[in-house]
Symmetry: C2
Subunit: 207 residues, 2 copies
DNA sequence: TAGATTGTTAATCGATTAACAATC
DNA sequence: TAGATTGTTAATCGATTAACAATC
Protein backbone atom coordinates (compact mmCIF):
# COMPACT_ATOMS: atom_id res chain seq x y z
CA UNK A 1 0.00 0.00 0.00
CA UNK A 2 1.12 3.47 -0.78
CA UNK A 3 1.07 6.57 1.41
CA UNK A 4 -0.16 7.68 4.78
CA UNK A 5 -3.90 7.88 4.37
CA UNK A 6 -5.54 5.11 6.40
CA UNK A 7 -6.88 2.28 4.29
CA UNK A 8 -10.07 2.35 6.29
CA UNK A 9 -10.66 5.86 4.95
CA UNK A 10 -10.01 4.69 1.40
CA UNK A 11 -12.51 1.92 2.01
CA UNK A 12 -15.29 4.40 2.73
CA UNK A 13 -14.75 6.56 -0.31
CA UNK A 14 -16.44 4.13 -2.73
CA UNK A 15 -19.43 4.05 -0.37
CA UNK A 16 -19.64 7.83 -0.44
CA UNK A 17 -19.26 7.82 -4.18
CA UNK A 18 -22.03 5.30 -4.66
CA UNK A 19 -24.44 7.26 -2.49
CA UNK A 20 -23.57 10.52 -4.24
CA UNK A 21 -24.20 8.99 -7.64
CA UNK A 22 -27.66 7.90 -6.49
CA UNK A 23 -28.33 11.41 -5.17
CA UNK A 24 -27.25 12.83 -8.47
CA UNK A 25 -29.50 10.45 -10.38
CA UNK A 26 -32.44 11.32 -8.18
CA UNK A 27 -31.82 14.79 -9.52
CA UNK A 28 -33.75 16.67 -6.87
CA UNK A 29 -30.81 18.72 -5.66
CA UNK A 30 -27.46 20.07 -6.65
CA UNK A 31 -25.72 20.07 -3.29
CA UNK A 32 -25.66 17.90 -0.20
CA UNK A 33 -24.14 18.12 3.26
CA UNK A 34 -22.02 15.80 5.36
CA UNK A 35 -25.05 15.57 7.60
CA UNK A 36 -27.36 14.35 4.85
CA UNK A 37 -24.86 11.95 3.34
CA UNK A 38 -24.05 10.60 6.77
CA UNK A 39 -27.64 9.96 7.73
CA UNK A 40 -28.16 8.05 4.50
CA UNK A 41 -25.22 5.83 5.25
CA UNK A 42 -25.41 5.58 9.00
CA UNK A 43 -22.09 7.39 9.37
CA UNK A 44 -21.44 10.51 11.43
CA UNK A 45 -21.11 13.79 9.58
CA UNK A 46 -17.83 14.44 11.36
CA UNK A 47 -16.38 11.27 9.96
CA UNK A 48 -17.31 12.17 6.42
CA UNK A 49 -15.79 15.62 6.72
CA UNK A 50 -12.68 14.18 8.31
CA UNK A 51 -12.30 11.54 5.61
CA UNK A 52 -12.64 14.07 2.81
CA UNK A 53 -10.26 16.50 4.49
CA UNK A 54 -7.42 14.06 3.85
CA UNK A 55 -7.65 14.93 0.18
CA UNK A 56 -8.54 18.60 0.08
CA UNK A 57 -11.38 21.03 0.65
CA UNK A 58 -14.38 20.09 -1.43
CA UNK A 59 -17.19 21.91 0.34
CA UNK A 60 -18.46 25.38 1.12
CA UNK A 61 -19.47 26.58 4.56
CA UNK A 62 -23.19 27.10 4.74
CA UNK A 63 -24.08 25.18 1.60
CA UNK A 64 -22.18 21.89 1.76
CA UNK A 65 -20.91 19.90 -1.21
CA UNK A 66 -21.77 20.25 -4.87
CA UNK A 67 -22.79 16.69 -5.68
CA UNK A 68 -21.43 16.43 -9.21
CA UNK A 69 -18.19 18.11 -8.23
CA UNK A 70 -17.61 15.80 -5.29
CA UNK A 71 -18.36 12.77 -7.46
CA UNK A 72 -15.75 13.95 -9.92
CA UNK A 73 -13.20 14.50 -7.17
CA UNK A 74 -13.79 11.10 -5.60
CA UNK A 75 -13.42 9.45 -8.99
CA UNK A 76 -10.14 11.23 -9.43
CA UNK A 77 -8.89 10.23 -5.99
CA UNK A 78 -9.84 6.60 -6.56
CA UNK A 79 -8.36 6.55 -10.07
CA UNK A 80 -11.70 5.94 -11.68
CA UNK A 81 -11.40 8.55 -14.37
CA UNK A 82 -10.42 5.87 -16.81
CA UNK A 83 -11.93 2.43 -17.01
CA UNK A 84 -10.05 -0.57 -15.67
CA UNK A 85 -9.82 -3.79 -17.64
CA UNK A 86 -10.28 -6.92 -15.53
CA UNK A 87 -9.63 -10.60 -16.15
CA UNK A 88 -12.04 -13.11 -14.74
CA UNK A 89 -10.82 -16.60 -13.92
CA UNK A 90 -13.46 -19.29 -13.53
CA UNK A 91 -16.40 -19.91 -15.82
CA UNK A 92 -18.64 -21.80 -13.41
CA UNK A 93 -21.95 -20.58 -12.09
CA UNK A 94 -20.37 -17.63 -10.32
CA UNK A 95 -18.11 -16.71 -13.22
CA UNK A 96 -21.16 -16.82 -15.43
CA UNK A 97 -23.03 -14.44 -13.13
CA UNK A 98 -20.08 -12.07 -12.96
CA UNK A 99 -19.63 -12.14 -16.72
CA UNK A 100 -23.23 -11.05 -17.12
CA UNK A 101 -23.36 -8.55 -14.28
CA UNK A 102 -24.32 -5.16 -15.67
CA UNK A 103 -23.03 -3.23 -12.67
CA UNK A 104 -19.36 -3.25 -13.63
CA UNK A 105 -19.30 -1.22 -16.77
CA UNK A 106 -20.77 2.06 -15.64
CA UNK A 107 -18.79 2.00 -12.43
CA UNK A 108 -15.43 1.79 -14.09
CA UNK A 109 -14.63 -1.87 -14.71
CA UNK A 110 -14.61 -3.95 -17.84
CA UNK A 111 -14.43 -7.69 -17.61
CA UNK A 112 -12.85 -8.29 -20.97
CA UNK A 113 -11.59 -11.84 -20.68
CA UNK A 114 -12.71 -15.05 -19.02
CA UNK A 115 -10.48 -18.04 -18.42
CA UNK A 116 -11.08 -21.60 -17.34
CA UNK A 117 -9.16 -24.86 -17.39
CA UNK A 118 -12.12 -27.08 -18.20
CA UNK A 119 -12.10 -28.21 -21.87
CA UNK A 120 -15.90 -28.32 -21.79
CA UNK A 121 -15.96 -24.64 -20.93
CA UNK A 122 -13.17 -23.37 -23.15
CA UNK A 123 -14.55 -21.92 -26.34
CA UNK A 124 -18.11 -21.32 -25.21
CA UNK A 125 -19.58 -17.84 -25.24
CA UNK A 126 -20.41 -15.86 -22.13
CA UNK A 127 -21.95 -12.46 -22.59
CA UNK A 128 -20.25 -12.20 -25.97
CA UNK A 129 -16.89 -13.23 -24.68
CA UNK A 130 -15.24 -16.52 -25.46
CA UNK A 131 -14.00 -18.55 -22.52
CA UNK A 132 -10.26 -18.92 -22.99
CA UNK A 133 -7.82 -21.59 -21.99
CA UNK A 134 -6.12 -20.80 -18.70
CA UNK A 135 -2.81 -21.53 -20.41
CA UNK A 136 -3.23 -18.34 -22.40
CA UNK A 137 -3.65 -16.26 -19.25
CA UNK A 138 -0.03 -15.31 -18.70
CA UNK A 139 0.53 -14.07 -22.24
CA UNK A 140 -2.65 -12.09 -22.32
CA UNK A 141 -2.19 -10.37 -18.96
CA UNK A 142 1.33 -9.35 -19.93
CA UNK A 143 0.40 -8.20 -23.41
CA UNK A 144 -2.61 -6.18 -22.30
CA UNK A 145 -0.93 -5.04 -19.10
CA UNK A 146 -3.95 -5.97 -17.06
CA UNK A 147 -3.65 -5.06 -13.37
CA UNK A 148 -6.89 -6.42 -11.90
CA UNK A 149 -8.33 -9.90 -11.68
CA UNK A 150 -11.32 -11.66 -10.20
CA UNK A 151 -10.98 -15.24 -8.99
CA UNK A 152 -14.13 -17.36 -9.21
CA UNK A 153 -12.72 -20.86 -8.98
CA UNK A 154 -13.03 -23.48 -6.24
CA UNK A 155 -10.96 -22.99 -3.10
CA UNK A 156 -8.74 -25.90 -4.06
CA UNK A 157 -7.58 -24.13 -7.22
CA UNK A 158 -7.49 -20.58 -5.95
CA UNK A 159 -3.92 -20.34 -4.67
CA UNK A 160 -2.62 -21.77 -7.92
CA UNK A 161 -4.54 -19.24 -9.94
CA UNK A 162 -3.44 -16.43 -7.64
CA UNK A 163 0.19 -17.43 -8.17
CA UNK A 164 -0.30 -17.41 -11.94
CA UNK A 165 -1.93 -14.01 -11.81
CA UNK A 166 0.82 -12.53 -9.69
CA UNK A 167 3.46 -14.04 -11.92
CA UNK A 168 1.80 -12.45 -14.94
CA UNK A 169 1.81 -9.02 -13.33
CA UNK A 170 -1.63 -8.65 -11.75
CA UNK A 171 -1.58 -6.15 -8.89
CA UNK A 172 -5.09 -6.42 -7.42
CA UNK A 173 -7.12 -9.55 -6.88
CA UNK A 174 -10.72 -9.91 -5.83
CA UNK A 175 -11.26 -13.49 -4.75
CA UNK A 176 -14.55 -15.30 -4.27
CA UNK A 177 -12.82 -18.48 -3.19
CA UNK A 178 -13.35 -19.21 0.51
CA UNK A 179 -9.69 -19.42 1.43
CA UNK A 180 -6.91 -17.06 2.46
CA UNK A 181 -4.47 -16.45 -0.34
CA UNK A 182 -0.78 -15.77 -0.07
CA UNK A 183 0.42 -12.93 -2.23
CA UNK A 184 3.65 -10.91 -2.21
CA UNK A 185 3.74 -7.38 -0.82
CA UNK A 186 2.59 -4.97 -3.48
CA UNK A 187 -0.24 -7.23 -4.59
CA UNK A 188 -3.58 -6.44 -3.00
CA UNK A 189 -6.08 -9.18 -2.27
CA UNK A 190 -9.70 -8.61 -1.23
CA UNK A 191 -12.25 -11.28 -0.49
CA UNK A 192 -15.91 -11.87 -0.99
CA UNK A 193 -17.20 -14.92 0.84
CA UNK A 194 -20.91 -14.90 1.61
CA UNK A 195 -20.55 -17.56 4.29
CA UNK A 196 -18.14 -15.42 6.29
CA UNK A 197 -20.72 -12.63 6.30
CA UNK A 198 -23.57 -14.96 7.24
CA UNK A 199 -21.55 -16.53 10.04
CA UNK A 200 -20.81 -13.10 11.39
CA UNK A 201 -24.53 -12.45 11.69
CA UNK A 202 -25.60 -15.72 13.29
CA UNK A 203 -23.67 -14.73 16.40
CA UNK A 204 -26.38 -12.17 17.07
CA UNK A 205 -29.29 -14.52 16.35
CA UNK A 206 -31.12 -16.93 18.61
CA UNK A 207 -30.80 -20.40 17.09
CA UNK B 1 -26.35 -6.07 18.16
CA UNK B 2 -26.18 -7.81 21.48
CA UNK B 3 -23.55 -7.61 24.18
CA UNK B 4 -20.20 -6.06 24.81
CA UNK B 5 -17.86 -8.05 22.62
CA UNK B 6 -16.67 -5.83 19.77
CA UNK B 7 -18.26 -6.66 16.44
CA UNK B 8 -14.84 -6.48 14.83
CA UNK B 9 -13.83 -9.44 16.96
CA UNK B 10 -16.96 -11.35 15.96
CA UNK B 11 -16.04 -10.59 12.37
CA UNK B 12 -12.71 -12.38 12.68
CA UNK B 13 -14.06 -15.55 14.24
CA UNK B 14 -15.42 -16.96 10.96
CA UNK B 15 -12.01 -16.34 9.41
CA UNK B 16 -10.34 -18.28 12.19
CA UNK B 17 -12.91 -21.01 11.86
CA UNK B 18 -12.40 -21.34 8.13
CA UNK B 19 -8.62 -21.59 8.49
CA UNK B 20 -8.93 -24.14 11.29
CA UNK B 21 -11.24 -26.31 9.22
CA UNK B 22 -8.67 -26.33 6.42
CA UNK B 23 -5.96 -27.26 8.91
CA UNK B 24 -8.13 -30.05 10.19
CA UNK B 25 -8.78 -31.32 6.67
CA UNK B 26 -5.08 -31.28 5.86
CA UNK B 27 -4.90 -33.70 8.75
CA UNK B 28 -1.19 -33.34 9.40
CA UNK B 29 -1.55 -32.18 12.96
CA UNK B 30 -3.85 -32.19 15.92
CA UNK B 31 -2.94 -28.87 17.50
CA UNK B 32 -1.98 -25.42 16.30
CA UNK B 33 -0.77 -22.22 17.91
CA UNK B 34 -1.86 -18.60 17.75
CA UNK B 35 1.44 -18.03 16.01
CA UNK B 36 0.79 -20.54 13.26
CA UNK B 37 -2.81 -19.52 12.72
CA UNK B 38 -1.79 -15.88 12.67
CA UNK B 39 0.93 -16.32 10.11
CA UNK B 40 -1.51 -18.13 7.82
CA UNK B 41 -3.94 -15.27 8.03
CA UNK B 42 -1.60 -12.32 8.27
CA UNK B 43 -2.83 -11.53 11.77
CA UNK B 44 -0.71 -11.15 14.90
CA UNK B 45 -0.70 -14.00 17.35
CA UNK B 46 -1.53 -11.57 20.15
CA UNK B 47 -4.68 -10.54 18.39
CA UNK B 48 -5.86 -14.08 17.99
CA UNK B 49 -5.26 -14.87 21.64
CA UNK B 50 -6.97 -11.66 22.67
CA UNK B 51 -9.97 -12.33 20.47
CA UNK B 52 -10.42 -15.84 21.81
CA UNK B 53 -9.97 -14.72 25.39
CA UNK B 54 -13.27 -12.86 25.16
CA UNK B 55 -15.02 -16.20 25.16
CA UNK B 56 -12.96 -18.41 27.42
CA UNK B 57 -9.71 -20.31 27.64
CA UNK B 58 -9.37 -22.73 24.78
CA UNK B 59 -5.66 -23.39 24.68
CA UNK B 60 -2.89 -24.96 26.72
CA UNK B 61 0.41 -23.32 27.54
CA UNK B 62 3.23 -24.99 25.69
CA UNK B 63 1.10 -26.85 23.19
CA UNK B 64 -1.42 -24.38 21.82
CA UNK B 65 -4.94 -25.18 20.65
CA UNK B 66 -6.49 -28.53 19.85
CA UNK B 67 -7.79 -27.89 16.34
CA UNK B 68 -10.97 -29.93 16.46
CA UNK B 69 -11.85 -28.62 19.89
CA UNK B 70 -11.37 -25.00 18.89
CA UNK B 71 -13.47 -25.54 15.77
CA UNK B 72 -16.23 -26.93 17.94
CA UNK B 73 -16.01 -24.01 20.33
CA UNK B 74 -16.07 -21.41 17.57
CA UNK B 75 -19.08 -23.09 16.02
CA UNK B 76 -20.82 -22.91 19.35
CA UNK B 77 -19.96 -19.25 19.84
CA UNK B 78 -21.18 -18.36 16.36
CA UNK B 79 -24.34 -20.44 16.74
CA UNK B 80 -23.35 -22.79 13.96
CA UNK B 81 -24.12 -25.99 15.78
CA UNK B 82 -27.41 -26.20 13.95
CA UNK B 83 -27.94 -25.32 10.33
CA UNK B 84 -29.63 -22.09 9.36
CA UNK B 85 -32.34 -21.98 6.71
CA UNK B 86 -32.02 -19.04 4.33
CA UNK B 87 -34.37 -17.50 1.79
CA UNK B 88 -32.93 -16.20 -1.43
CA UNK B 89 -34.68 -13.38 -3.26
CA UNK B 90 -33.80 -12.89 -6.90
CA UNK B 91 -33.51 -15.59 -9.53
CA UNK B 92 -31.33 -13.75 -12.02
CA UNK B 93 -27.77 -14.70 -12.92
CA UNK B 94 -26.51 -14.07 -9.41
CA UNK B 95 -29.44 -15.83 -7.73
CA UNK B 96 -28.80 -18.74 -10.03
CA UNK B 97 -25.14 -18.88 -8.99
CA UNK B 98 -26.02 -18.65 -5.31
CA UNK B 99 -28.66 -21.35 -5.64
CA UNK B 100 -26.04 -23.66 -7.09
CA UNK B 101 -23.18 -22.72 -4.80
CA UNK B 102 -21.98 -25.82 -2.99
CA UNK B 103 -20.21 -23.87 -0.27
CA UNK B 104 -23.23 -23.08 1.85
CA UNK B 105 -24.39 -26.47 3.01
CA UNK B 106 -21.33 -27.77 4.78
CA UNK B 107 -20.72 -24.44 6.44
CA UNK B 108 -24.07 -24.23 8.11
CA UNK B 109 -26.50 -22.63 5.68
CA UNK B 110 -29.31 -24.05 3.61
CA UNK B 111 -30.85 -22.00 0.86
CA UNK B 112 -34.23 -23.67 0.90
CA UNK B 113 -36.38 -21.22 -1.05
CA UNK B 114 -35.93 -18.87 -3.99
CA UNK B 115 -38.30 -16.04 -4.84
CA UNK B 116 -38.71 -13.76 -7.80
CA UNK B 117 -41.37 -11.43 -9.15
CA UNK B 118 -40.81 -12.24 -12.81
CA UNK B 119 -43.54 -14.52 -14.22
CA UNK B 120 -40.99 -15.99 -16.63
CA UNK B 121 -38.90 -17.12 -13.68
CA UNK B 122 -41.60 -18.27 -11.31
CA UNK B 123 -42.04 -22.01 -11.50
CA UNK B 124 -38.73 -22.89 -13.06
CA UNK B 125 -36.30 -25.19 -11.29
CA UNK B 126 -33.02 -24.06 -9.81
CA UNK B 127 -30.86 -26.69 -8.20
CA UNK B 128 -33.96 -28.74 -7.45
CA UNK B 129 -35.86 -25.83 -5.97
CA UNK B 130 -38.81 -24.20 -7.64
CA UNK B 131 -38.66 -20.43 -8.00
CA UNK B 132 -41.62 -19.06 -6.04
CA UNK B 133 -43.75 -16.01 -6.47
CA UNK B 134 -42.52 -13.13 -4.33
CA UNK B 135 -46.10 -12.72 -3.11
CA UNK B 136 -45.71 -15.96 -1.20
CA UNK B 137 -42.63 -14.69 0.64
CA UNK B 138 -44.32 -13.22 3.67
CA UNK B 139 -46.36 -16.30 4.46
CA UNK B 140 -43.45 -18.64 4.02
CA UNK B 141 -40.99 -16.68 6.13
CA UNK B 142 -43.51 -16.46 8.94
CA UNK B 143 -44.56 -20.08 8.74
CA UNK B 144 -41.02 -21.42 8.62
CA UNK B 145 -39.69 -18.81 11.01
CA UNK B 146 -36.79 -18.05 8.72
CA UNK B 147 -34.36 -15.51 10.15
CA UNK B 148 -31.85 -15.06 7.34
CA UNK B 149 -32.20 -13.81 3.78
CA UNK B 150 -30.01 -13.07 0.80
CA UNK B 151 -30.99 -10.29 -1.58
CA UNK B 152 -29.89 -10.76 -5.18
CA UNK B 153 -32.14 -8.32 -7.00
CA UNK B 154 -31.34 -5.07 -8.83
CA UNK B 155 -30.59 -2.01 -6.72
CA UNK B 156 -33.88 -0.44 -7.74
CA UNK B 157 -35.87 -3.25 -6.13
CA UNK B 158 -33.66 -3.92 -3.12
CA UNK B 159 -35.17 -1.57 -0.55
CA UNK B 160 -38.63 -2.85 -1.32
CA UNK B 161 -37.52 -6.43 -0.85
CA UNK B 162 -35.69 -5.52 2.34
CA UNK B 163 -38.87 -3.95 3.72
CA UNK B 164 -40.84 -7.08 2.88
CA UNK B 165 -38.26 -9.30 4.52
CA UNK B 166 -38.17 -7.22 7.68
CA UNK B 167 -41.95 -7.12 7.82
CA UNK B 168 -42.04 -10.90 7.57
CA UNK B 169 -39.63 -11.30 10.46
CA UNK B 170 -36.21 -11.70 8.87
CA UNK B 171 -33.43 -10.65 11.26
CA UNK B 172 -30.29 -10.83 9.10
CA UNK B 173 -29.91 -9.77 5.50
CA UNK B 174 -26.99 -10.28 3.16
CA UNK B 175 -27.46 -7.95 0.22
CA UNK B 176 -25.71 -8.09 -3.13
CA UNK B 177 -27.53 -5.01 -4.37
CA UNK B 178 -25.18 -2.03 -4.72
CA UNK B 179 -27.16 0.31 -2.50
CA UNK B 180 -27.40 1.14 1.20
CA UNK B 181 -30.49 -0.32 2.76
CA UNK B 182 -32.53 1.13 5.60
CA UNK B 183 -33.49 -1.41 8.22
CA UNK B 184 -34.77 -1.02 11.77
CA UNK B 185 -32.52 -1.60 14.76
CA UNK B 186 -32.40 -5.28 15.52
CA UNK B 187 -32.14 -6.24 11.88
CA UNK B 188 -28.61 -6.78 10.65
CA UNK B 189 -27.60 -5.95 7.11
CA UNK B 190 -24.32 -6.92 5.48
CA UNK B 191 -23.25 -6.14 1.95
CA UNK B 192 -21.35 -7.75 -0.84
CA UNK B 193 -20.64 -5.41 -3.74
CA UNK B 194 -17.66 -6.37 -5.89
CA UNK B 195 -17.36 -2.88 -7.32
CA UNK B 196 -16.86 -1.35 -3.89
CA UNK B 197 -13.97 -3.74 -3.33
CA UNK B 198 -12.45 -3.08 -6.75
CA UNK B 199 -12.73 0.67 -6.29
CA UNK B 200 -10.97 0.38 -2.99
CA UNK B 201 -8.03 -1.24 -4.74
CA UNK B 202 -7.69 1.12 -7.70
CA UNK B 203 -6.65 3.85 -5.28
CA UNK B 204 -3.36 2.02 -4.88
CA UNK B 205 -2.83 1.38 -8.61
CA UNK B 206 -1.19 3.51 -11.24
CA UNK B 207 -3.80 4.11 -13.94
C1' DT C 1 -27.81 39.74 8.43
C1' DA C 2 -28.98 35.07 10.40
C1' DG C 3 -28.58 30.36 9.62
C1' DA C 4 -26.08 26.65 8.02
C1' DT C 5 -22.20 23.99 7.37
C1' DT C 6 -17.45 23.44 6.52
C1' DG C 7 -12.51 22.03 7.90
C1' DT C 8 -9.82 21.30 11.85
C1' DT C 9 -8.35 20.75 16.59
C1' DA C 10 -8.31 18.41 20.78
C1' DA C 11 -10.49 14.99 23.49
C1' DT C 12 -12.33 10.62 23.71
C1' DC C 13 -12.84 6.20 22.64
C1' DG C 14 -11.49 1.71 21.08
C1' DA C 15 -8.34 -1.66 19.05
C1' DT C 16 -3.78 -3.62 18.61
C1' DT C 17 0.56 -4.94 20.30
C1' DA C 18 4.38 -5.95 23.40
C1' DA C 19 5.70 -8.21 27.21
C1' DC C 20 5.66 -11.63 30.67
C1' DA C 21 4.18 -14.57 34.58
C1' DA C 22 2.01 -18.87 34.62
C1' DT C 23 2.18 -23.42 33.28
C1' DC C 24 1.78 -27.33 30.17
C1' DT D 1 13.75 -30.22 33.22
C1' DA D 2 13.84 -26.90 29.16
C1' DG D 3 11.17 -25.04 25.64
C1' DA D 4 7.00 -23.45 24.03
C1' DT D 5 2.89 -21.05 24.28
C1' DT D 6 -1.02 -19.48 26.63
C1' DG D 7 -4.07 -15.68 28.79
C1' DT D 8 -3.74 -11.14 30.44
C1' DT D 9 -2.01 -6.60 31.62
C1' DA D 10 -0.41 -2.25 30.44
C1' DA D 11 1.29 0.58 26.86
C1' DT D 12 0.82 2.08 22.38
C1' DC D 13 -1.31 3.16 18.49
C1' DG D 14 -5.07 4.67 15.63
C1' DA D 15 -9.82 6.02 14.66
C1' DT D 16 -13.94 8.53 15.89
C1' DT D 17 -16.35 12.26 17.81
C1' DA D 18 -17.43 16.74 19.83
C1' DA D 19 -16.90 21.30 19.46
C1' DC D 20 -16.18 25.58 17.30
C1' DA D 21 -14.01 29.41 14.69
C1' DA D 22 -14.35 30.60 10.03
C1' DT D 23 -17.18 31.84 6.43
C1' DC D 24 -20.49 31.13 2.69
Amino acid sequence: MANDIPDIVIGRLPIYLRALVYMDEEGDKVTTSSQELGSRLGISSAQIRKDLSHFGEFGKQGTGYHIKYLIEQLRQILHLEHDWPVVLVGAGYLGHALAHYQGFKHRGFHINWIFDNNPDKIGIQMNNMEVRDIRELDDLVRREEVQMAIIAVPASAAQNIADMLVEAGIKSILSYAPINLKAPAGVQVRYSDPVILLQRMTYYLEP
